[in-house]
Symmetry: C2
Subunit: 196 residues, 2 copies
Amino acid sequence: MSRITALTVRQEARRRRILDASTRLAAGGGFDAVQMREVAEESGVALGTLYRYFPSKIHLLVAVMQDQLGQLHDTLRDRPLTASSPGERVAETLLRAFRALQREPLLADAMVRAVIFADRSVRAEVDTVSVLTRAIILDAMRLGAEPSPDLLSAIRVVEHTWHATLVSWLADRSPVDQVREDLRTACRLIPPGLPG
Amino acid sequence: MSRITALTVRQEARRRRILDASTRLAAGGGFDAVQMREVAEESGVALGTLYRYFPSKIHLLVAVMQDQLGQLHDTLRDRPLTASSPGERVAETLLRAFRALQREPLLADAMVRAVIFADRSVRAEVDTVSVLTRAIILDAMRLGAEPSPDLLSAIRVVEHTWHATLVSWLADRSPVDQVREDLRTACRLIPPGLPG
DNA sequence: ATCGAGTCTGAAACTTGTTCTAGATTAGCG
DNA sequence: CGCTAATCTAGAACAAGTTTCAGACTCGAT
């Protein structure tokens, strides 16, 4: 039994080292700087092992995104939101998240481009990212009841806008102010009342 | 003088052959099937020449997108829109465009993934795509005056939703009906009156 | 008709993501 | 402890995007 644990522990540690190395490399040079050989070397793992843990560079970076989203979710949970309507709270939350990304733009580059470039083979992992993102948005809304289909669609549009504005910002095609404005605009789709 | 024309004509022809070959390959197998060596061979051009015309695979596919958007714009111009409000006309237009993409999903895959994956080095070309897309949206709105900043932001959100829903659809993470619903939802941001 | 600049070709080389292999190590079991 | 399967390692090999280079060709001008 202790051996099972030991195995899992070592493997868990390997996985962590890989994710940390990737995060570090990404923060240092963006998507292109995360090179599989270097990730393997930095995390003290053979290339083949890296590929056993993460079947592609995209899988790896999507996992980094999951990791970061989890941390973000925790951070956001601590600080209360001040806005009074659900839409405004969502906007506030996204602007906070955006501020966090601005601190590590190259890390954001690596993660966001991986998520949007991901194809069918990464479906499950990207879905997880989507669920996490939506959880953050729903948290901010503080709904009393199940969201209606219309509201769900509005939330998806907010999420889409979130991704696409980031892409546009990362490629230097949208200034920061425009990103902020567009995020707020998208949040106007969320009705001010607290619908179920 | 005739020589200048002759040169330009031959070069124009080469460029066209390259774009056509890329389009064909993309339609046949999506982003991955557009392989630079094969594009070069199919268009009867050396690899180095291909790279002289289009400095990267992304540049090439973004040019294909420009090409297709131009054709789409022409097609759309012919058939009149029936909806009465600007937002509904935009929705109608995007749904038509989406229907067109559904006919060639693999071509859509190649183009859309190139556009969203493009980095700073492709800024100018992607901006052109953005301008073309916005022109299609603005055409559908039939504005009487210059759009206000708020309206411009709403249009950008519609455009962002357009891109992100496509990405999600292409990766098999959103069903067609959801794409349609979300496009309509985003278009609700465009006010029913005809604001300047 | 010929020259010089710019362009095109064909092929090799380089980079980085991905796969494969043979042998060492580790885990869990009897 | 000793066995077996799974895992890990080092390193070669492969695939596709990109770069490079020497030589041939084309253009436009003289």
